[in-house]
């Protein structure tokens, strides 16, 4: 990728900069149409802008003068999905109170398929990594997930239960073998790609009793301060280390009871259920977060279909992401530490810096050697050293 896109939603302007040619510039002004979302196309030459009120999606091309419009896009969380190889794009649409999905060929933006879905109110769409199956799921009022083939045929429907709040998040396994569905009943159900039927469900109880599960608990360790060496004003490094507390992981003995929060029942979008799901790139592990137990990351062994590790943090989990190359999970909890877990163990890393650096999200580099840690106003690039061979 050789371009950087900057979108200012409030002003409705998108600016593009080139890495190769600093002189080159591009500015897209949506004007009164407004701008709600903007993203690149997989080939890096088209920009998809979603106008305000989701009136339409404009496809601006950087290589031709053509502009394409996609009408009636659906105003939902994940309305646009690209296949992994970047060939096809699926767009969720809603016309006349009915949901549709359109599949476009990214090379020439030709409409390939257009079909309606049996959803009440489509909530999200996601391609399988092999690019042949599209998962479409309904709003949380209905537990329903539909699986469509690339050519628009309905392959299967899955409903776990009725009436209670339904699907909160889904994740495909990298080999497209499994589809993990996290729902509001604190369970993850895994479907297999052959029959599209549930093969197992993972529960997230507040008490972990299985002796084969390893529970890592983050504990603070108080820093050793040598009072004699204190001087005024304290040097920067020492100051930061004084104020920030070191932490390390301890292995807790099973049974362990985790902090369970029951959300207020009269509020919408309750903080319950499985809010985050992610498969490791080697298809061996699944990391989940139960919003009822916000301080814990659950890591499941997919080969054995059992709970493998639970990471209990001191603060609520903000986000986690797997290393794109190996089964290494990076977790951030809103403090200035980033936590890593791998089958070899886990470690807590203090981000050096002055003041408060509250990491709210992180993102790995594709090579798995570095990552970006983001706070509200700052970001930090973290490099991971490879083991000396």
């Amino acid at each position: 990728s050789l371009f950087i896109l900057c979108a200012m939603y409030k002003r409705g302007i998108v600016q593009v900069w080139s890495l190769e040619q600093p002189d080159w510039h591009c500015k897209i002004d949506e004007g009164s149409a407004g701008l709600v979302a903007s993203c690149w196309s997989p080939d890096g030459r088209h920009i998809l802008n979603t106008t305000e009120f989701h009136l339409r999606i404009t496809v601006w091309s950087l290589c031709t003068k053509s502009v394409s419009y996609i009408k009636y896009p659906k105003a939902c969380q994940q309305g646009v999905a690209f296949t992994k190889d970047g060939r096809y794009m699926a767009v969720a649409e809603r016309r006349d109170c009915k949901d549709f999905v359109s599949i476009f060929v990214c090379s020439d933006w030709q409409l390939l398929r257009h079909f309606d879905t049996e959803t009440q109110d489509l909530f999200g769409i996601e391609w399988a990594p092999n690019g042949c199956v599209l998962a479409v799921w309904d709003t949380c009022l209905e537990y329903k997930i539909l699986l469509y083939s690339l050519d628009g045929r309905l392959l299967s429907t899955y409903r776990a239960y009725e009436w209670s709040l339904g699907i909160k998040s889904i994740a495909w396994s990298p080999s497209s073998q499994f589809l993990a569905i996290g729902s509001y009943d604190e369970k993850v159900r895994i479907l297999n790609h052959v029959t599209w039927k549930k093969i197992t469900e993972f529960e997230h109880p507040a008490t972990i009793a299985n002796t084969k599960t390893i529970v890592y608990k983050e504990v603070e360790k108080s820093p050793s301060v040598e009072t004699e060496r204190l001087s005024f004003p304290p040097p920067r490094a020492l100051a930061s280390s004084l104020f920030s507390t070191q932490s390390k992981y301890d292995v807790s003995q099973v049974p362990v009871s985790l902090q369970y929060i029951k959300p207020a029942a009269d509020r919408a979008n309750p903080k319950m259920g499985i809010g985050m799901l992610a498969f490791s790139p080697d298809n061996c592990f699944l990391a989940t977060k139960n919003d009822n137990i916000p301080n814990a990351v659950w890591i499941w062994d997919i080969q054995k279909l059992k709970l493998f590790v639970v990471l209990e943090q001191l603060c609520a989990i903000q986000s986690f992401q797997w290393d794109p190359r190996q089964p290494r999970l990076a977790v951030c909890t809103g403090n200035s530490k980033v936590y890593f877990w791998s089958p070899a163990g886990c470690v807590s890393v203090q981000v050096p810096g002055e003041g408060d650096f509250q990491i709210v999200s992180l993102s790995w580099h594709a090579s798995g050697d570095s990552m970006v840690l983001l706070s509200k106003e700052n970001f930090c690039v973290c490099y991971l050293e490879r083991e000396e061979v």
Binding site: S18, D23, W24, H25, C26, K27, I28, D29, E30, G31, S32, A33, D43, G44, R45, F53, H54, L55, R56, W60, L62, C63, T64, K65, S66, V67, R87, Y88, R94, D96, C97, V105, S107, D108, Q110, L112, Q120, D121, N130, G131, C132, L141, S149, L150, D151, W163, V194
Partner: protein, 561 residues
């Protein structure tokens, strides 16, 4: 005897009353008798005495005796009077009667005691039974009360149960109702949502129109220069062809994905089939040979034949790749059968083991521990013995092979061997001698033949000489032909010679042949003679006549040939 009676009645009446009372009381009832007995102890001696004296006094002896007599006779006793009607008393009979009466009295007393005992026993039994009866009555009361209590509880529980059922039903009804409410509310909400959405869409459309109508110059893209496509190709127009191509590409993608999946599944399938085959083989090898158990044979006979067929069929390579239903089913069914058999076998073994542990020795298949141990001991002993035997034998063998001739036995043995050898040698010597003799004989005959041959040759030579002379003479006298009539006489003189000469003349025509044939006949004859003892003669042939080496050589050759 009315007078006597009237006299004695007042006295007796009291006594008789007593007596009668006594006896009648006896008949009435035993308890009263008991009481009577208790109440009326046997009268003391004094009273008895008075009692007895009351009956008979000095005045009424006669009456009392007669009375006694009457009583006794009525009771079956003999009369106490003497035989005559006189008033003499038979003392013996009196004494007998008394004795009898005493005996009777004892008997009666004994009977009375027995009856009293029985009475007591019965009384105690009665008490006991009464107590039991009372207790049982109490128990019966208690249990009745309990039953009533339990029944009451049962009734309460049943009513509770009914209440709970009712509650459950109510709850279920409520749940159903709530669900219905929810669904109706949901449809209502959906409807409302749709309505609002339509309104919203209308607004959006209106807005869109407004936005588009404004022809906002602002909605534009400023670009310095257009960038090339990512893949370097030029953009193409969208045509039907491209549409078709896109469709094609999409289907290709789908197909390739399906093919890949199918390949993976095939590979997995093949592996699993292999594993199943392996498992089947292992199970078959683990199972005991079925031939030993005849009763199971009938069951497993067809199974075995099936198995063999299966093995035969499914071991073929091509069968593995077939994934049709029948083949799959065959394999899985056969594996299931095998597994069941193995399970049964293992269960049987488990049972056997458990039985052995519990000590049951009835089963013939099971060898008890002691027997087993005994057998092993026996076998060990046998092994020991065999080992010892082997050792001794080995020792003996070694001695045999390596020991010097010190022992008598070995000497004897050696002597035996020598004797054997000597005998053998003697036999050979004998043979040798015989052969030698034969050779001698032959040699002699040979030499004789040679001598004869020489003589014959001489004779022949002489004859030849004479015949030549004759011939010459005849040739010369042919000129004087008429005068050589006497010559035939010369010829006739020796008939033998004539014959020979005739022979020779007849044979003269072929001088070579005659000579050779005649001469060769003889050595041939001799050679024939000598060929009888061919080998030895050949070796022992004398250098022979050098005069005819050729022919000897020929004969030799003939012989050797």
């Amino acid at each position: 005897m009315g007078d006597w009676k009237t006299i004695t009645v007042p006295v007796l009446s009291s006594d008789s009353k007593n007596i009668f009372q006594y006896t009648s009381d006896k008949k009435i009832s035993s308890p009263s008798m008991n009481s009577q007995v208790l109440r009326l102890p046997l009268p003391s001696s004094k009273s008895m005495h008075s009692f007895f004296s009351a009956f008979c006094t000095e005045e009424n002896i006669e009456q009392s005796i007669s009375y006694l007599n009457r009583e006794l006779t009525t009771l079956g006793f003999p009369s106490i009077y003497a035989e005559s009607k006189g008033k003499e008393l038979n003392l013996i009979s009196i004494i007998n009667c008394m004795n009898e009466l005493l005996v009777l009295q004892h008997k009666n007393l004994r009977a009375q005691e027995e009856v009293e005992m029985q009475h007591l026993k019965l009384g105690s039994d009665m008490d006991h039974l009464q107590n039991c009866y009372a207790k049982l009555k109490e128990q019966l009361e208690l249990s009745k009360r309990e039953i009533v209590g339990l029944q009451e509880r049962d009734r309460q529980l049943q009513s509770k149960n009914r209440n709970l059922h009712q509650l459950l039903k109510n709850e279920k009804d409520e749940v159903q109702k709530l669900q219905n409410i929810i669904s109706s509310r949901a449809t209502q909400y959906n409807h409302d949502m749709k309505r609002k959405e339509r309104e919203y869409n209308k607004l959006k459309e209106r807005l869109h129109q407004l936005v588009m109508n404004k022809k906002d110059r602002k909605i534009a893209m400023e670009v310095l220069n257009y960038v090339g496509r990512a893949d370097g190709k030029r953009g193409a127009w969208r045509t039907d062809k491209t549409e078709a191509r896109n469709e094609e590409e999409m289907y290709k993608v789908l197909l390739s994905d399906y093919e890949q999946r199918q390949k993976q599944l095939l590979v997995e399938n093949a592996e699993l089939k292999k594993v199943l085959q392996q498992m089947k083989k292992d199970i078959i090898s683990l199972l005991p040979p079925q031939k030993q158990k005849p009763k199971e044979r009938s069951e497993d006979g067809p199974v075995l034949s099936d198995l063999e067929e299966d093995i035969g069929e499914l071991n073929k390579e091509n069968m593995w790749e077939l994934s049709c239903e029948t083949v799959r089913e065959q394999l899985t069914n056969s594996i299931r059968k095998q597994w069941r058999m193995l399970k049964n076998h293992v269960e049987k073994l488990d049972n056997q083991v458990s039985r052995v542990h519990s000590g049951a020795l009835n089963d013939k298949d099971v060898i008890s521990r002691e027997d087993h141990e005994m057998e092993t001991e026996k076998l060990e002993l046998e092994i020991q013995q065999c080992k010892e035997m082997i050792k001794t034998q080995q020792q003996l063998l070694q001695q045999q092979l390596m020991s010097p001739c010190d022992d008598d036995t070995t000497l004897l043995l050696q002597d035996c061997y020598l004797l054997e050898e000597r005998e053998r040698l003697q036999e050979e010597w004998r043979l040798f001698q015989e052969q030698k003799k034969n050779f001698e004989k032959e040699r002699r005959s040979f030499t004789e033949a040679a001598i004869r041959l020489g003589l014959e040759r001489k004779a022949f030579e002489e004859d030849r000489g004479t015949w030549l002379k004759q011939q010459f003479l005849s040739m010369s006298t042919d000129y004087k032909h008429s005068e050589n009539v006497t010559t035939p006489s010369a010829f006739l003189g020796s008939s033998e010679q004539d014959n020979r000469l005739v022979k020779s003349t007849s044979q003269q025509r072929k001088p070579h042949c005659v000579l050779s044939s005649s001469v060769s006949a003889e050595p041939c004859q001799t050679s024939h003679y000598t060929t009888r003892n061919s080998s030895s003669v050949a070796s022992k042939k004398p250098a022979g006549d050098d005069s005819k080496p050729n022919r000897w050589v020929e004969s030799d050759k003939e012989e050797t040939e």
